[in-house]
Symmetry: C3
Subunit: 282 residues, 3 copies
């Protein structure tokens, strides 16, 4: 784990890797972050002394807000390095299948493919004071394409999954805990010591049992690759529609993909009502 | 959406249809209500300007208590108009597959096939003060036959589903939220504005993404038609047994299917203990 | 239900059997308890007047802590009497398929295969003050092999199931309720009357509907026998590894399988860090 990664700070303690996301200005998923994520997974899996991988954010306001909508083709290509095909969802699914136990320690806003990334982790703990969960895809004319539908439907059940996937609303950590989006909401001051202790605890357990447990849980709860692939394709198909293109352009004009603009993302998205391909062209 | 429906009040606002159930004396599911529900679904789906359908009750005490047990053959025939076969469960499953996003705004008692109706909706929000959820089927000698087993087992998990399906007890809105029967319990005063805002919000999103999301969630969480069909058949088979017939007659003598008699339905049902085909015949 | 059982106190009231686990010193699962459990199930199923089976513990501190790790081959043979093959998981799965409705009334510590036993019951209610839930398997180098993976993944979802199965931590009744491990946590004083009333209520319902409901829920939520079998095999494979053997020996030296030693089981297990086959041999 020697070489430095541009967008992820890495610290190793015994069998645990602590990975801190730091891709300014706001941890959008772009080709650099995906490239570094691929490198981190490959290096960590290759080191047999490691058993647990913890993800946190160096940005107090944003964990991962979503993908960079201007660089979709690029980050998909970067994902193909490990996933074998250009799909963020299949890269995340590959992470779920890792022999490593992964824990997301969430502070700040996590949305779209950022939510899909933490859903691909094995466990999710979030700070009550700052964590916010959101899916903006339907407001922009598309579907959650990187595994969110697969995980949220299984975790939350049909009714709450449809609400979360369709509403494009904000959910705080307590709401996310009640719905089952995350394992638990904790006071911010307790989050780091809690996750740290859990990570070290699991990292000290024998490798065999841990691998068996993860494999057997995945056999039940991790959707087939074809289902991730289909969602990934539908994301692209919908994104290419003129109305979705018009919505994304209008969103960017209103502050989408900026730190300030996404503080009230539900409000920004509500302002897109009435924007169609025709209205945007006029 | 021009012609008036006898048992459902309909109001349209932009892309949202607000449907208010009004089938006196207590919104039992009979052939008229099913006929009007079929008409409402068909008309709403045919109007491309519509995207969301909200169901509420005009009766403050009863949302839908259950089917009219004296008119089973009739309402099943009415369901066949849209479902293609005489089964309430398959009609409700057809509603779950609709391109429209459906929201149940629940006040008052909802039980039996009424619960199965709201479970077929895409989301469920209920008033803390008045909503009560119940399944009386096992006390009457039968099984929840219109999709309740399918939805509740997936939403609540094996243990809580068995409790709810087997106990014939009352669950208030908070309990229903904790178990995952509904999305959320809200103070009655907040329920209407909350649902209204959510409905309008989703109705303004592009059609393509919304359809993709609903289709993909259904592919995971909506049980196959054959499973609904099997439950529907088992409901009928059990209902025809002499003990079930004796129980239903005794229940009706004690106030079942009356507004007053169902205020304390669990108590009424407990009073049926010891009634068998033989005891009823004597 | 005449002959007395050595490790289970049995009391019958109308259609309900109350079974009280009493296998000193701490209700470990050994061949005697399994033998008696098999006898109890067979006798109760043979008596058509019975419909509900309630399990509680005569030991205030321990419900069932886990299997007796010194008698694995023996209790597996005892399980084969009813399961048809030497697997505790398949015996528990057989219990889940019983025509009887089973309720676990939980006080004290329940862990490992004890947790898997209550998960095999149809419903679980626990005392807020005393019930503690735990899975120690990964700390000892193995996997939950008697159905825990199957049930917990379906009840809790992927994230919480992985946490519970991998952390070997304690969860109190409130936490277990929030995660969906149990139906409900109740004040200890209310637990007995609540379960008793529920058991009698269900026992008075007609047999046909109750059987239909349980069969249909199982068709959805009870994993195939092959999945239980695979977990059972993985448990044995992992247990036989030198590191697991070393961990189990070390755990027993530190008080594992004693009343006093398991009061703080998570602490005891944390003390095993660093123990490997090599370290133990040195």
């Amino acid at each position: 784990m020697s070489a430095t990664l541009e967008t992820i700070g890495v610290r190793q303690e015994q069998g645990v890797v602590f990975a801190s996301l730091q891709a300014p200005p706001m941890n959008l998923i772009g080709p650099e972050l995906v490239r570094d994520l691929v490198a981190l997974i490959e290096r960590s899996e290759a080191d047999e002394s490691l058993q647990v991988l913890v993800f946190s954010s160096a940005d107090p306001d944003y964990f991962i807000p979503h993908v960079d909508v201007n660089r979709i083709a690029e980050y998909r290509q970067a994902a193909a390095k490990l996933a074998g095909e250009p799909s963020l969802g299949l890269l995340f699914r590959r992470l779920s299948e890792s022999r490593l136990v992964t824990i997301a320690q969430i502070t700040g806003r996590v949305g779209g493919a950022g939510s899909e990334f933490v859903l691909a982790c094995d466990m999710r703990f979030a700070a009550k004071e700052s964590a916010i969960f959101r899916h903006m895809e339907p407001a922009l004319g598309t579907i959650e394409g990187a595994g969110g539908v697969q995980h949220l439907t299984r975790l939350l059940g049909r009714g709450r999954a449809l609400e979360v996937l369709l509403s494009a609303e904000d959910y705080d950590a307590d709401a996310a805990e009640r719905y089952g989006w995350i394992n638990r909401a904790l006071p911010a001051a307790e989050l780091d010591p809690f996750v740290r202790a859990l990570a070290h605890r699991i990292s000290a357990f024998p490798r065999g049992g841990v691998r068996s447990i993860k494999a057997r849980v995945n056999a039940i709860a991790l959707a087939p690759a074809d289902d991730f692939r289909r969602d990934s394709d539908l994301f692209l198909e919908n994104v290419r529609q003129p109305e979705a293109q018009a919505r994304m352009r209008a969103a960017i004009e209103r502050g989408f993909q900026t730190r300030e603009g996404e503080l009230d993302l539900p409000g920004l998205l509500a302002g897109l009502a009435g924007i169609t391909a025709a209205s945007a062209a006029s």
